[in-house]
Symmetry: C2
Subunit: 213 residues, 2 copies
Amino acid sequence: MRLAELSERSGVSTATIKYYLRERLLQQGERITATQSEYGEEHLRRLRLVRALIQVGRMPVATAREVLEAAEDESLSEHMRMGAAIFGLPHGPEPAEETPETVRARQHVDALLDRLDWSYGREIGDASPAYRTLIESVASLARLGYPHDTDHLLPYARLASQLAVEELDVIEKYSTLSERIEAAVALTVLYEPVLLSLRRLAQTEESGRRIKE
Amino acid sequence: MRLAELSERSGVSTATIKYYLRERLLQQGERITATQSEYGEEHLRRLRLVRALIQVGRMPVATAREVLEAAEDESLSEHMRMGAAIFGLPHGPEPAEETPETVRARQHVDALLDRLDWSYGREIGDASPAYRTLIESVASLARLGYPHDTDHLLPYARLASQLAVEELDVIEKYSTLSERIEAAVALTVLYEPVLLSLRRLAQTEESGRRIKE
DNA sequence: ACTATTGGATAGTGCCACTCTCCCATGGAA
DNA sequence: TTCCATGGGAGAGTGGCACTATCCAATAGT
């Protein structure tokens, strides 16, 4: 498969593919001659994954590169590679500075993690983008005066926990390590809009039902 | 409260506040003299909400304006205002064109809505941004070869349903209509990063547990 | 032989959320 | 009453970022 065909089958323009190659989001094709390269099915897969991360996951190009590099770094253990890949994925606001609200938000979140006995979350703490985003989001809720204490967060955490078990089950079905890591990245990112969309549809549904009665 | 104080208490620069005023994201203050206006606590609240929509919810300025306008449009019924506000909130990719994957994705999603008996979702269909985003996300999963059928989506939908019930309960606690609508917008947007962060923390936790064993 | 394509590099584009700069009217302190 | 700071208003500028367009020289395909 040459560049033109890769472009056609993926729906991504050749100019953009060249850009991704330059940015090292995509591996070089196998050099066939001095001026041409051959691309295979795995290039197509990778390209689609990159597109999913950037378009569906709204991830900056630089971040996508980091995530993919971590996922491929053979010098790391499986746990580290998986962790680094999922870990690096950001998705929300970072706390700007220490405000009274962020301090209290941190207390609520830490209490939540303790209550759930999520030891990894407690250990990693501020090093995790997800943890920092959580703090900032809870602080935003606090600033607007909406409920944000441990009791209100608990149901969300329990649901998240259930989802994680199912998702890890899906991931474990893949036999090779690189497939598992790619699956972890793809599923983490791609199921996010699924979850959020369903939540909004459910809200519409529930709201409609209540008004009807 | 003058502009400078509003800026200080909100942590938003005066230049940005002026920009929001120009873009009609923020109501004008009450004119005190020909050259000065007085701002109150509700301006501060509104400003924080705007910031939350834009920064936490990553919403484009134009969209935030539409959402807030719909929420305030007194010519509409409560259901319509609430609907228009939540409805307008986008968060994911829109389907670009009709591909084989989007067609099949639509079938899976429609079957899911039928199974759940979500009649509103079925009726509104393509008119809802959440529905369109769901289609496109499922299509992306399909293109990458990951599970995306009705059975895999069902647990997400059930959890979303549970959350919607709790969230509507919180919203109903507010006594005035404008408070309820503002709460609906704020909670929909602000609990998104909370949910996503908790999901990632839960994945890390579950992954860590499995590897340990 | 000759047209089209490729890889490679560089510069440009379009969008968007601000941010800067001016201007002049006014307000408040000295 | 003077004079500096602040406010509202408007237009232009900025910076980041994901592309996208243009060139160029070396083939590849016919």
